[in-house]
Structures are given as C-alpha cells and as structure tokens.
C-alpha cells in the first residue's frame, strides 16, 4: 500500500479551505455590522419578519410522551422489516439455514409486538 505524505497535502488544503469558507462570511458580516449598521433595537426590528409567526405562550408545554412509544414501535416494524427485503428477493436461492435465520428474525419482531401489546403500550390513554 503506497504511503505518500504528499497525498495528504491536498486533503490539508481542502480542510483549510472548508474552515475558511465557514468562518470568512461570518467574520465579514460581523465587520459589516460594526461599520455600516449600528444597533437600533426596537419591537418592529425584533419581529419575526418573514420568518414565521410570532410565538405565543411559554415554550415549555405538556404533551403526551406516549407518542414516543408509538414512534419506537413503528420504527421496529417499519425500519426493521426492511431487512426482510433482501431475503424476499433471494428467497428461491436460499439454503435452509438462511430461511431459518429469517424466521428467527421475524419471531423476534413478533415477540416485541406481543410484549408491547401485553404491557398495554398500544392503548392510547
């Protein structure tokens, strides 16, 4: 395996450019702020101009955290089930062992569903 430190030089230059590209515009806007736009705070200036509507009420509100349990259960059966697609595609060529492994995987999903059901996490309270 070739080991040429020169090869990393472009990487270093690229890194420097990336950092500069992030910092220079911020620095320029700060300079602009200092020289051309003195601070004139006021209610209309602090309003959310073209950035959504004015917020009302406190940010800390009560909401049902049970939603998250639903979210997790959904994740289990939606995202995890995607792993079955490769098995479905290659189903006819699979050896017995692979089919059994897939069956075990499905049984795992089923057990988690049964657990959630029995514990009452699927009932919206």
């Amino acid at each position: 395996m070739p080991s040429d430190p020169q090869a990393y030089l472009t990487l270093g230059i690229f890194f420097g450019i990336a950092v500069a590209a992030a910092l220079v515009p911020i620095g320029l806007s700060h300079l602009w702020l200092r020289w051309f736009t003195p601070a004139k705070p006021g209610p209309s200036k602090h309003s959310a101009y073209e950035c959504g509507i004015e917020a009302t009420g406190p940010a800390r509100i009560q909401f049902k955290s049970q939603y998250y349990v639903y979210g997790i259960v959904f994740l289990i059966f939606d995202v995890e089930a995607i792993f079955l697609i490769p098995i479905a595609v290659a189903f006819l060529d699979l050896p017995l062992g692979a089919v059994l492994v897939a069956a075990v995987f499905v049984l795992l999903l089923l057990e988690s569903l049964a657990w959630c059901w029995a514990k009452g996490y699927l009932n919206w309270k």
């Binding site: 395996m1 080991s3 990393y8 062992g97 795992l108 057990e111 657990w115």
Partner: protein, 496 residues
C-alpha cells in the same frame, strides 16, 4: 458456510440470547405477581447452559475471517463473564432494589443477559465491526439497566449522561475504525497486524488508533473519558453498577489489550523515559497516569461509598493501563488477571454497598458505621474486597498489582533502568494514597459505633452467598494465584 459449525461455535451466545427472550416472554405473560423465583431460576439455568456450552464446546476455531473466534483465552473469559453475571443476577432478586422493581424483574434480567450477550460477542471476535456491534449491544442494555428498576430523578440523569457520553464515544470508536480500515484495508485484527508489519504506516493510521482509544477509554472509564462513571455508579441500582464495574470492565480491558497488542503491536511506539517514540504506548501511558492521579485523589474527597468506589475504579483503570504500556505477553497476562480480580472485588463491594443502601437508605460513610457488629459477614466481605483493591497481602489484589508493576518494569534491556519506572513510581505512590480512603470506609465499618436507631441490615440469602463467594475467591486466589494464572498462561501461549 456450514450453519451447524457456526451454531456450535456460538452456542453460549445462543443460550444467553434464548434465555433473554424467554425472560421477556415471561415478563409479557407474568404480570406483577411475584415471579421473582421463577425469573431467577430461568436466568440461572440459562447461564448454566451457556457455561456448559463454553466448557464442552469446540476448543478452537476461527470462522468468517475472524468474526467468531474460539480459543482457550476467549473460552476462559466467557466463563469469567458468565460467572460475574450470575453473581449480578443473584443480587437482583427478590425484593432486590427498593420500589420500582415490582413486576419488572423479568425484563431487568433480560436486559442483564442482553448486556452479557454483547460482552460475549466482544470477547469472542477479532473483527472490528462485530466488536463495535457487541459493544453497542452491551452499552444500550446498560443504559437501560441504570434507570430501569429505579425511581425517577437522579438515576435518569445519570443514565442520560451515560447515554450521551456513550454515544459520542461510540461515534469516535466507529470513526477510528473507519480510518483503520482505510489505512490497512481490513477489519480483521490478524490481517491488520500482517499489513502493518509488511508496509510503512499510513499517516491516517495514528488518527484512527487515537480515535479508537477515545472509545476504549470511555469503556474502561479512563481519565479524561471518565466523567460518566461517578454519577452512574452512585445513582444506578447497585446490581447494575456492580455489573458495569465488573463484567463490563473485564470485557473492556480484554478487548483493549487484544486490539492494541494483537492488532497494533507493530505501531506500539514507546513511553520509556527519555526515549519517547510515536505510537499508542505514549497515549496509553498518559491515560494511565491521568487516571491514577485523578481517580485516586478524587476518591479521597468522596462521602458516598459508591461514588468512592467509582473513583477508585478509575484509579484501577490507570493501574491496569500502566502494565498495558509494556505490551508484552507478561503484561497482557497481568492486565487480564488483574481485570478479573478487580471485577470480583468490585462485585462484592457493590453487593455490600447495595445491602447497606437498602437497610439504611443511603450510602454515605456514616451509614456504614457499626456494620462490623450488626452484619459481620457483610462487613468481613467488604473488608476483604477493599483490602484486596488496596493491594494488601495475602489477598489477591497484592499479587495482581505486583504482577502489573513487574510487567511494566520488565520491558527494555536488562541491566539498565527500566523505561517505565516513572509510571510505576507514580502508580506505587497512588496505590499508597488509595489505602487511605479504603481504610476510611473500614474505620467506619469496624470502629465507629452503630447509630442507636439503625435498622438491622438484612439481605437476601442469595446476595449474601454471592458476597461470601466473592470474598473467598479473593482469599483463595491470593493464596493460590496459579489457579487462574496457569490457565491464563496456557491460553496466552496460543495467542502469542
């Protein structure tokens, strides 16, 4: 691929996994009517089956390019992990942690077994990716165990902190592994070692190893990646803390030693005084020195015994990493031996701390007052565990520490001053410091009068039995260290 061969090599893991699933099924069906005994029986049976599978299973094998490795060393450590987990499981039962545990014993045990499953995978692999998956499985189960059986409040905060630290550390670990893969073209430790021996080192390799060290440093609670440990040890239920301090740490040190010495032995570098050379040894030496100083000095100021044990654990990580810097066969033997006896002593200490916590509602130093009279057995075990941690003969801690330091000094040319003398001198100094805070606890236990209104310290017979077994192991191994050292030596000969 032959499935039967595969299954026969991972039979212990399968036994643990099936037991965990059965336990979840029991939690599903059982509800809250005291199934504690049944849960304990199933857990113990599963662990026993897994142990039998380890003992009577195949003696050696290397499947799927190092993903699954069975040799004398992995079998020995799988057996150790199973035994430590069995001890933890006995602590969990029944009427274990006050409150919250009602009706959730099955799930709690299932989590314990899933964490164990992760650790077994970690121990039984030489593949970086599977190693990562195993560590994550163990970590996810442990985050949950910290909060699972506990009331809301502090444990939740500690678990959240553990989770955040753990996820960031896992990200570092995976990022480091990706660089290692990029630099060597393999995730199999043995192939990595071969590539490193045959080719010049790629400039991105140090970055990869350094990032991976961050992840490992978190796992073994080495300074500066230790900040989660005191909160977790103090706030988690005592069995969970005991598991994190024993089994999880044993597996952590096992894998750190294996990855660094087996995979990256070529790029060790040197931390010898006046002869520093770039490699992982100087980094590990810095981690070791910081851990020893911070852990032992911070432990002096603690009022909570579990927090004190956490800082002492950080200090012990430093002691163990000290020997790892030498990176020869003797050092690996000392590291593995000490991690095992540290695990046993920690389990016993947390068991007694949990028992005091249940009886008196807190674990400040004052709460241990008079324990020597109200609960002589528990006090005796605590004394054995703490004195072993402090390294007093004839307990095994002395022998283990002696081996650690002798291994650290063994490197270098004979007749000259050993290069690691600076680190060992620091370790000896900190070892003396540690004696002070262990004795502070024991002074309360044996010489302070018990408060008049002290509730009698009662514990489940299972918990007491585990404590007594741990205590006798510490004494027995102190008198006959070769009981563990010889199998370890034989196993390591195969490895090197």
């Amino acid at each position: 691929m032959n499935y039967l061969e595969l299954i026969s090599h991972v039979l212990p893991e399968i036994a643990v996994l099936v037991t965990a699933l059965v336990l979840i099924g029991m939690g599903c069906a059982g509800g809250s009517r005291g199934g504690g005994k049944a849960v304990l029986a199933v857990t113990a049976a599963g662990l026993g089956l897994a142990l039998a599978a380890v003992v009577f299973g195949p003696e050696s094998g290397r499947l799927l390019e190092g993903m699954i490795v069975v040799d004398a060393l992995t079998r020995l450590f799988k057996a150790v992990l199973l035994a430590l987990t069995l001890g933890t499981a006995l602590f969990l039962f029944p009427g274990g942690e006050a409150g919250g545990n009602e009706g959730r014993g099955a799930e709690n045990s299932a989590l314990l077994l899933l964490a164990l499953l992760g650790l077994l995978v970690v121990v039984g692999t030489e593949n970086l990716l599977l190693l990562f998956v195993g560590l994550e499985l163990a970590s996810l189960a442990l985050y949950l165990m910290v909060v699972f059986a506990a009331p809301a409040g502090r444990p939740a905060e500690a678990a959240l902190r553990y989770f955040f630290f753990g996820s960031v550390a896992a990200a570092f670990l995976l990022f480091g592994f990706s660089f290692i893969y990029g630099a060597t073209g393999s995730i199999d430790l043995r192939v990595i070692a071969k590539v490193l021996a045959a080719h010049p080192v790629e400039p991105i390799l140090p970055l990869g190893v350094g990032l991976a060290l961050v992840g490992f440093g978190f796992k073994v609670a080495a300074v500066p990646f230790h900040l989660w440990a005191p909160d977790v040890y103090q706030s988690a239920p005592a069995p969970a803390a005991g598991f994190i301090a024993s089994a999880s740490k044993v597996a952590g040190f096992f894998i750190v030693a294996k990855v660094l010495v087996l995979g990256f032995g070529v790029v060790e570098g040197s931390a010898d005084w006046g002869a520093f050379a770039m490699g992982w040894a100087p980094l590990v030496a810095v981690l070791a020195a910081l851990s020893m100083v911070v852990g032992n000095l911070a432990a002096l100021a603690q009022q909570s015994v579990r927090r004190l044990l956490a800082y002492s654990g950080i200090g012990h990580s430093g002691f163990i990493l000290t020997a790892l810097v030498a990176a020869n066969a003797e050092a690996v033997r000392a590291v593995l031996f000490y991690s095992v006896i540290y695990g046993v002593a920690s389990l016993a200490a947390f068991g007694v701390a949990g028992c005091v916590l249940r009886a008196r509602g807190a674990d400040r130093l004052e709460d241990f007052a008079g324990l020597g009279r109200t609960a002589p057995a528990a006090a005796g075990v605590l004394a054995l565990a703490l004195l072993s941690l402090a390294g007093l003969p004839p307990l095994v801690g002395f022998f283990g520490k002696f081996q650690l330091f002798a291994a650290a000094l063994s490197g270098g040319t004979p007749g000259t001053v050993p290069g690691l003398l600076w680190l060992v001198a620091l370790a000896l100094l900190m070892s003396a410091v540690s004696l002070y805070y262990y004795l502070r606890v024991l002074k309360q236990v044996f010489f302070a009068p018990a408060p008049a209104d002290a509730a009698p310290t009662r514990d489940t017979s299972a918990g007491t039995a585990v404590c007594l077994v741990c205590g006798s192991v510490l004494v027995l191994l102190g008198l006959f260290p070769s009981l563990v050292l010889q199998p370890l030596q034989r196993a390591l000969v195969q490895l090197f």
